[in-house]
Amino acid sequence: MALALCRLLGIHRAHRELGGVATYTSHYRDRNRVIHKMSLIGFCEWLANTPGSIALHESLWVYPIVESVHVLTLCLFLGLTLVLDLRLLGLTFRGARASEIAERLLPWTTVGFVLMLTSGSLLFYAIPVRTYQNIFFRVKVTMLIMAALNVWVFHSTTYRTVAAWDLDPVPPKGARVAGAVSLALWAGIVVAGRMIAYNWFD
């Protein structure tokens, strides 16, 4: 079993070298390289050396344009997401049905999200290794996953009964919690995203 695993991971090469003229150092280096190849940081290093990543990183115009798209899409994506969050909290647009806000704004927030994800991925692609090692990037990704979980929980619980509270000026607790959690997470995501530019804790 262990042998099969070693073979699978390509470690057998290092072992074979050990039996021959290879020194301990070369074995050590080779083993490191094998582990490196499989890890996320190894993937980021590989990504950083692709022509597209280098071109994007060194581009005079494309990188700033992608970054601008990423920042300004905040208005479309987050601006309209906030409208629903604030409605779920009962803070605004109380005259509108919660489901109407959710459904009518969804196509727009979806477009915004796709733009965010595309431009964000390109920004990562331009500077993979540094970004991957950046604490703020890791915090941001964690909060993004939590925000997705929040949507999933809300839609599979409180939102199922939306017909019962659609016109309530202040929706039930489950909806208010979902709105508040979303607001807090997205605020954190924006701040963490901005801080990726700084390498205070690398």
Partner: protein, 156 residues
């Protein structure tokens, strides 16, 4: 008359010095500026989209605009305060940056347009569809210029 002495005064003010010499003040203030951007962007877009017949189509324009106006004014205040603070820390750079002047000109026009013509059109029920659409497109264009100009100040 040159405005440069005023920009130099801002740059060398105690506030400007403090922000410039701090490691974390600039990014923290900028984070508030970005959070304000999301709110003001949403408040502007929601109403402009409605004027174009998109988004919350079944809501009366006047009611939607009234609700959105509070968020617009609140976020505008956050944007102006955080924006002025960011400006003081790099006022001289701004003076020589075309993007800054593009942003300030479009910002002035955008605020004036939003609080006068657009406000009147969204409050009345008898605006023609063409009139509404023109107002929405003007608003989106002006505010986009503000946003793009603002982002471009950061690129030197």
């Amino acid at each position: 008359m040159s405005l440069l002495p005023f920009f130099e005064f801002c740059e060398h003010s105690a506030v400007g010095e403090t922000i410039r010499n701090s490691l974390w003040l600039f990014p923290v203030i900028e984070s508030f500026h970005l959070l304000g951007l999301a709110v003001i962007g949403g408040a502007v877009l929601l109403v402009d989209m409605r004027l174009l017949g998109l988004g919350l189509r079944s809501q009366p324009v006047a009611q939607l605009a009234k609700d959105a106006h509070r968020w617009f004014m609140g976020s505008l205040i956050v944007m102006l305060i955080s924006g002025v603070l960011l400006f003081t820390s790099e006022a001289i750079k701004c003076y020589y940056h075309a993007a800054f002047w593009v942003k300030m000109t479009s910002l002035l026009l955008a605020i004036l347009f939003t609080l006068t013509i657009r406000r009147k059109v969204v409050a009345s029920d008898n605006s023609s569809p063409l009139q509404s659409k023109l107002v929405a497109l003007t608003s989106v264009t002006l505010w986009s210029l503000v946003g793009i100009g603002g982002r471009w100040i950061g690129f030197s």
